[in-house]
Amino acid sequence: MIRLTEVAKEYPRSGVALAHVSFELGKGEFVFLTGPSGSGKTTILKLLYMDDKPTQGEVWINGVSSRNATGREISRLRRRIGIVFQDFRLLEDRTAEANVRFALEVTGAPKATIRSKVARVLTQVGLSSKSTSFPRELSGGEQQRVAIARALINDPFVLIADEPTGNLDERATRGVFQLLRDINASGTAVVMATHDLDLVRRSNYRTIELNHGRLVFDSAEPPASGRPIEEPIWPRETPPDATESI
């Protein structure tokens, strides 16, 4: 479903962001992407939803290759990918329901379908009672749920989440994470970049760790090259990856 082969990404100003990164993700898998600030997590996510192209190597996602994807193919691909960010990226002048509806409207879906689908996903994320609220009237956790509902509206095969709990308190983090687990349980793959090591340790999902743009650990790899997840992944004093979100 998703395959990265010897992927490298270099930016003219900031230099190497990724080097020799290869891994595969299967259908319905849940994967954590971890690593300190600037390790390349966000770059990998951008490559996955083709907001950027690798300098070397190739990214395959759902049959679309980074080497020859056209603009139209990328647009169609994104309709099958849900994307969630740390800063929610909601439109402040629209209600929760309108924010979710927006993602379907741009695909040209019929009105009747839009209405029923929006109601369904808002119920799925537990916000059916707040559909007419504006983002400023919602808590951080609720805003992230709206963003997740928007990401789910097109029935994605994968949900890409870039630090989705980075701006949330403990309780909201637990709620949002449980929601992502439920989504995964219903068959949608989830790729989640996070700093929250407790979250990573508490769950038993596959973990890919990056450092300085290189893949340094993949829990799906054989133990010879892997490292038990119980060990510290990187020094705890590393500041949170607040600036990395795109």
Binding site: G71, R80, F102, V106, T107, N154
Partner: protein, 281 residues
């Protein structure tokens, strides 16, 4: 339909910005229109001067009137020729006396020769055509001399060419400035909606889907600006006619072309500014 609604909603959300956009476009097209008005008036003046281009062949006193009549028939059939007139000695004297006013007495009967006056068709009044007609007329034996103000005709054409070239160059320059201004006003709308556009891209909207409302916005603003500019130019034209000199205004076709020009500039301006923005995000 959605794009039209989106474009109108965007204008409703930021009415001041939209009004500012339309007025800015109107002013840039107003400058363009004023220049166009000057250009058509210069052209009209040159056309009027050009209508006076004629070839005059002086007929010798001994010429046989039948020979002259037959030659005039031949000349009238030249493809360049619009009209051939015979000016008799008496008529020439009468015309000279009328034109000279107080010096009318200088002329005596029989002093001025009879002549054949040839008027050329529009589009065939360039120096080359005039010279060719003059040369053909010189071949008649009873013609003493042919005059057509060679230098004057050449000067007129040089002036006309300069006016055309500088007109096109200035017109293009004004159009480019108008496009840049329209692009800048549309860009303000694009920037005001940057977040929305970035979300649209993330959820899979095609570039055309994103662009279309802005193109319609540019088109509407271009047309509205074009109309407004036309009103400004019309007022300016009235003021000039009232206080300075009589000038002509654009005909219907030109006015239509002006508004279409505004629409095209609006679309091009949007295409440029939205395209640049989409490449950047």
């Amino acid at each position: 339909m959605r794009s039209v609604r989106e474009a109108l909603t965007a204008s409703r959300r930021a009415p001041l910005l939209s009004a500012l956009g339309v007025v800015t476009i109107a002013f840039s097209l107003f400058a363009f229109g004023l220049f166009g008005l000057v250009a058509i008036n210069i052209r009209k003046a040159l056309d009027q001067v050009e209508e006076r281009v004629e070839v005059r062949a002086f007929v010798s006193d001994s010429a046989d009137i039948e020979q002259v009549a037959s030659a005039m028939k031949d000349i009238g059939e030249f493809p360049e020729v619009l009209r051939v007139d015979y000016v008799s000695q008496e008529k020439a004297l009468e015309r000279a006396r009328r034109e000279m006013g107080e010096f009318a007495d200088v002329f005596e009967a029989g002093v001025l020769p009879a002549s054949i006056e040839v008027h050329l068709r529009p589009g065939m009044r360039s120096p080359a055509y005039v010279r060719s007609v003059a040369d053909k007329m010189k071949t008649y034996q009873f013609i003493d001399d042919v005059r057509y103000g060679e230098e004057w005709v050449e000067k007129l054409y040089r002036l006309r060419n300069i006016a055309s070239v500088s007109g096109i160059a200035l017109g293009v320059a004004f159009a480019v400035v108008a496009i840049i201004i329209i692009g800048a006003t549309i860009r303000m709308t694009v920037l005001a909606r940057a977040k929305e556009i970035s979300i649209m891209r993330l959820v899979g909207a095609t570039d055309m889907f994103i662009r279309l409302p802005f193109l319609i916005d540019g088109l509407v603003k271009g047309v509205a600006g074009g109309f407004l500019a036309l009103v400004f130019v019309w007022i300016a034209n009235r003021v000039v006619n009232e206080y300075f000199m009589q000038t002509i205004f654009f005909d219907r076709q030109m006015m239509f072309l002006g508004v279409v020009g505004g629409a095209v500039m609006g679309i091009v301006g949007s295409l440029v500014s939205v395209g640049r923005h989409l490449r950047r995000i």
